[in-house]
C-alpha cells in the first residue's frame, strides 16, 4: 500500500527551467570554480530547453553526462575504485511531462527516481522497497524519500549499511552501475489508487553522474571540508539601503558565525559567502512569500529556486514568509528545501537550493543560523532524525530515535500515529520528549524536526559523513 508524506524538505520543480543545455560531457577538473560574479545576473533567459546549466568543474569531482533517457530505459556508467560517493542528477526533458499525479485523491509531485539500481548485476536499490514504501530505512543500502518533481538527486552513501561498506572498502562499489529510469507517473499503474489527470507524454530525463574521488583508501570520506554559501534576497528588508546586498551581508554576519559553529562539529567550515539581491520583478512576483504547499514544478518554491546561479554552492533564498495556504490552511514554516539531497553543482533547476525565513534575524540570528544549517543539512542528504509523529526516522544508526510509542508522555491528550488506524491529529514529539533518555533521543540534533530550547545543533558522526560525501562539500 502506498505510504508517503513524512519527510518535508523535498519540494517540487518548475515548468520552464533556466539556462541552456550544453554538452556537459563528463571529465574531471583539477581547478576550483571561479568566484561568483559580484552582481546578480538572472540565469535566464528561459529557453525551450528545460535543463539547467551543466555543473561547473569542481576539484575532486568528475561529472559524467550520460544523456537523455526515457522512463524504463537503462543507463549505465562506470565507477572507478576509490570513489567516495556517487550522485545521480536527473532533470526532466519533456516540457509537457506530468508535474503531479493523484494518489488516493491527494496531489503528489511527479518525483523522479530510478526504478532500480544495480552494481555489477547486484541490485542495491528498488523503488518500491527503498523509496515509495520503505520499511525500516536503517537497513537499506540506499534510501530515497523526498518530493523531487522534474529534478532530483540521489547521493550514495546515505544509509548506515552503505556508509559502513564505503568506510571498510575504501569507497562505493566500483564497476558497472546500471539504473532504470522512472518517475511516479511511470510507476502509477502499479500503485494502488494512483491516477494521472491527463494522458501526459512519458517523461525522459537528462542524467549526469557526479563521482567524488575518495580522500584516501583508508578514509574515503574526508574528515573535513568546506561549503560555499550564496544568499539571495527575496525579502525587501534591505531594499532601502544604497547597496542592499552589502547591507544584508553585514547583517548576516552574526548568523554566519553561528552557522559556522554548528557545521564545525561536522568538520565543515564555511568557504565563500556571497549575497545577491534579486531583481525587483522577482520580488514583486512573490511579494515576500513562498507558498509551502505547492509541490508542483510550477509552484512558488520551484520557481524561486530556478533563480539560483550555476556553481557549487548552497543556494539559500531569504524570504519573509513561507505560508501554508492549502485548504484548510495550516501555519507557516521558517524553512523549506527543494529535495533531499539537492542537485549539488547545478544551479537554476527547480530544486537548486532552499529557502529560509529572516523573520527572526534581528532578534535571534542564532535561530536563523540553525534553520539555514538545517535546510543545508537536507540539501546535503540528511533527513529528520525523527519526524513529528515519532513513527518515521532517518536511515542512519548513529542518530538517536524518538518513537512516539515509547517516548510520548503518559497521559498525553493526543494518541500516537499508527499504521493500522490513521490518527488525524496525532501527538507531536517535542524537544523535551526527545532529550529525556538514551532511548528517547535526538531532540537536541540539528536535524530534529523542531527547534526548541533543547536544540544544540548536534550532528552525529554518520550524519557528518553523509554531509561530507556530498559533492557540495569540497
Amino acid at each position: 500500500m502506498y505510504r508517503r508524506n513524512p519527510p518535508r524538505g523535498a519540494r517540487a520543480s518548475s515548468a520552464v527551467l533556466a539556462a541552456v543545455l550544453s554538452a556537459c560531457g563528463g571529465g574531471s577538473s583539477s581547478s576550483l570554480p571561479p568566484p561568483p560574479p559580484p552582481a546578480y545576473t538572472p540565469p535566464g533567459p528561459q529557453t525551450s530547453s528545460l535543463l539547467a546549466a551543466p555543473p561547473v568543474p569542481v576539484a575532486g569531482l568528475t561529472a559524467v553526462h550520460l544523456g537523455t533517457f526515457s522512463v524504463n530505459q537503462s543507463a549505465t556508467f562506470q565507477v572507478p575504485a576509490n570513489t567516495a560517493s556517487v550522485t545521480i542528477v536527473q532533470q526532466q526533458a519533456v516540457p509537457k511531462g506530468a508535474q503531479t499525479i493523484q494518489i488516493e485523491g491527494t496531489t503528489v509531485p511527479n518525483t523522479v527516481f530510478p526504478h532500480s539500481i544495480s552494481v555489477n548485476g547486484q541490485q542495491i536499490f528498488d523503488v518500491y522497497a527503498d523509496a515509495i514504501n520503505p520499511g525500516t530505512p536503517t537497513g537499506l543500502q540506499v534510501y530515497y524519500f523526498t518530493d523531487a518533481a522534474w529534478a532530483g538527486a540521489m547521493t550514495i552513501p546515505n544509509t548506515a549499511p552503505m556508509l559502513q561498506s564505503v568506510l571498510s572498502s575504501g569507497g562505493v562499489p566500483s564497476g558497472t552501475w546500471k539504473l532504470v529510469v522512472s518517475d511516479f507517473a511511470n510507476e502509477c499503474p502499479g500503485i494502488q489508487a494512483c491516477t494521472t489527470v491527463y494522458a501526459y507524454p512519458a517523461s525522459a530525463y537528462d542524467i549526469t553522474v557526479l563521482l567524488k574521488t575518495a580522500a584516501s583508501p583508508a578514509a574515503p570520506i574526508s574528515a573535513s571540508g568546506k561549503v560555499d554559501l550564496a544568499f539571495y534576497l527575496l525579502t525587501e528588508e534591505w531594499d532601502g539601503q544604497p547597496d542592499p546586498a552589502a547591507a544584508a551581508k553585514a547583517a548576516l554576519a552574526p548568523m554566519l558565525s553561528s552557522f559556522g559553529s554548528i557545521y564545525a562539529s561536522a568538520g565543515i567550515s564555511l568557504g565563500n559567502v556571497n549575497v545577491y539581491n534579486l531583481p525587483a520583478s522577482v520580488k514583486a512576483k512573490f511579494n515576500g512569500a513562498v507558498n509551502a504547499d505547492d509541490s508542483s514544478p510550477s509552484g512558488d518554491l520551484a520557481q524561486l529556486l530556478t533563480n539560483a546561479l550555476p556553481g557549487n554552492q548552497m543556494n539559500l533564498f531569504l524570504v519573509d514568509r513561507i505560508p501554508s495556504s492549502s485548504n484548510p490552511s495550516g501555519t507557516t514554516t521558517v524553512g523549506l528545501d527543494g529535495t533531499i539531497p539537492g542537485p549539488a553543482t547545478f544551479g537554476g533547476t527547480v530544486q537548486s537550493g532552499a529557502i529560509v525565513s529572516v523573520v527572526d534575524l534581528a532578534a535571534a540570528p542564532s535561530r536563523v543560523a540553525y534553520i539555514a544549517a538545517h535546510e543545508t543539512g537536507h540539501f546535503l542528504g540528511l533527513y529528520h532524525t525523527t519526524e513529528a509523529d515519532g513513527t518515521w526516522f532517518d536511515p542512519l544508526t548513529g542518530t538517536p530515535q524518538c518513537p512516539c510509542s515509547s517516548c510520548r508522555p503518559a497521559g498525553a491528550a493526543q494518541a500516537c500515529q499508527n499504521s493500522s488506524n490513521s490518527v488525524s491529529a496525532p501527538y507531536a514529539m517535542t524537544g523535551y520528549d526527545c532529550t529525556r533518555s538514551a532511548s528517547c533521543g535526538g531532540g537536541d540534533h540539528l536535524m530534529f524536526w523542531v527547534i526548541s530550547s533543547q536544540s544544540a545543533g548536534t550532528i552525529s558522526a554518520d550524519e557528518g559523513q553523509v554531509m561530507r560525501a556530498n559533492p557540495l562539500v569540497y
Binding site: 559553529s261 525587483a280 528545501d337 523542531v450 530550547s453
Partner: protein, 182 residues
C-alpha cells in the same frame, strides 16, 4: 563559537516555558511550543484544532507578547485564525493595524480573513489595502479580501491594482487570480 554557546543563545532566544498549573496544561503548552518551533513541517489545521479549548488563550498571549520571537508571534496569530476563540479576532485586528514586522502583520491580516464573516471583512481590510505604507502589506490585504471577502470586494481589489504604481502591480497577481476563480 562552540556548540554550547550556540545552544545557550538559542535557549535564551526561545525563552523558558512558563510553568503551568497542571500536567495537562504543561503538555498543552509543550505541544504548542513544538508546533511553533516547527522548522519545515507545516502544522495542519486539524492538529491545531485538536489541541482543545485551552489553546486559544495561550496563543493569544504569545501573539500579543512583544518579547516573544517574531516567528512564534506570527505562527501564533496564524493558529488563532485556525482555532478561533473569543479573543482571536481582536488579537488579529490589533496586529493587522500595527506597523509591526511585515510577516506578523501579513499573518494577522490573513487570520482576519479566516475569522471574520465576509460582511465584516471588507470594512476591516479595505483600510489596510488602501492605507498601509508598504505595498507588500497592501497586496496581502488585497489577496485576503479576494479569497475571503464578499464577491463584490474584487471590484475594490481591482481598483486598488489600478491605483498602484506599475512596478507594484505584479504583487497583486495572487489577489487577481483569486478573484478570477470566484
Amino acid at each position: 563559537m562552540p556548540i554550547a554557546i550556540v545552544s545557550a543563545l538559542l535557549a535564551a532566544a526561545l525563552g523558558a516555558a512558563t510553568p503551568s498549573a497542571t500536567p495537562a496544561d504543561e503538555q498543552l503548552r509543550q505541544q504548542i511550543d513544538a508546533y511553533l518551533g516547527s522548522i519545515d513541517t507545516p502544522i495542519p489545521a486539524a492538529r491545531w484544532k485538536a489541541l482543545g479549548a485551552g489553546a486559544p488563550a495561550i496563543l493569544a498571549a504569545i501573539a500579543r507578547d512583544a518579547r516573544e520571537l517574531p516567528s512564534r508571534r506570527t505562527k501564533a496569530v496564524e493558529a488563532l485564525g485556525v482555532v478561533g476563540g473569543g479573543e482571536a479576532a481582536q488579537v488579529a485586528r490589533e496586529l493587522s493595524g500595527k506597523d509591526a514586522s511585515f510577516a506578523l502583520r501579513a499573518a494577522a491580516v490573513e487570520a482576519l480573513g479566516r475569522l471574520l464573516p465576509p460582511s465584516e471583512l471588507e470594512a476591516a481590510l479595505a483600510p489596510v489595502m488602501k492605507g498601509a505604507a508598504q505595498a507588500r502589506v497592501r497586496a496581502v490585504a488585497a489577496e485576503t479580501l479576494a479569497r475571503h471577502g464578499p464577491k463584490d470586494a474584487c471590484a475594490t481589489v481591482r481598483a486598488q491594482v489600478d491605483a498602484e504604481a506599475p512596478n507594484d502591480r505584479a504583487r497583486y497577481h495572487r489577489a487577481l487570480t483569486a478573484c478570477e476563480k470566484r
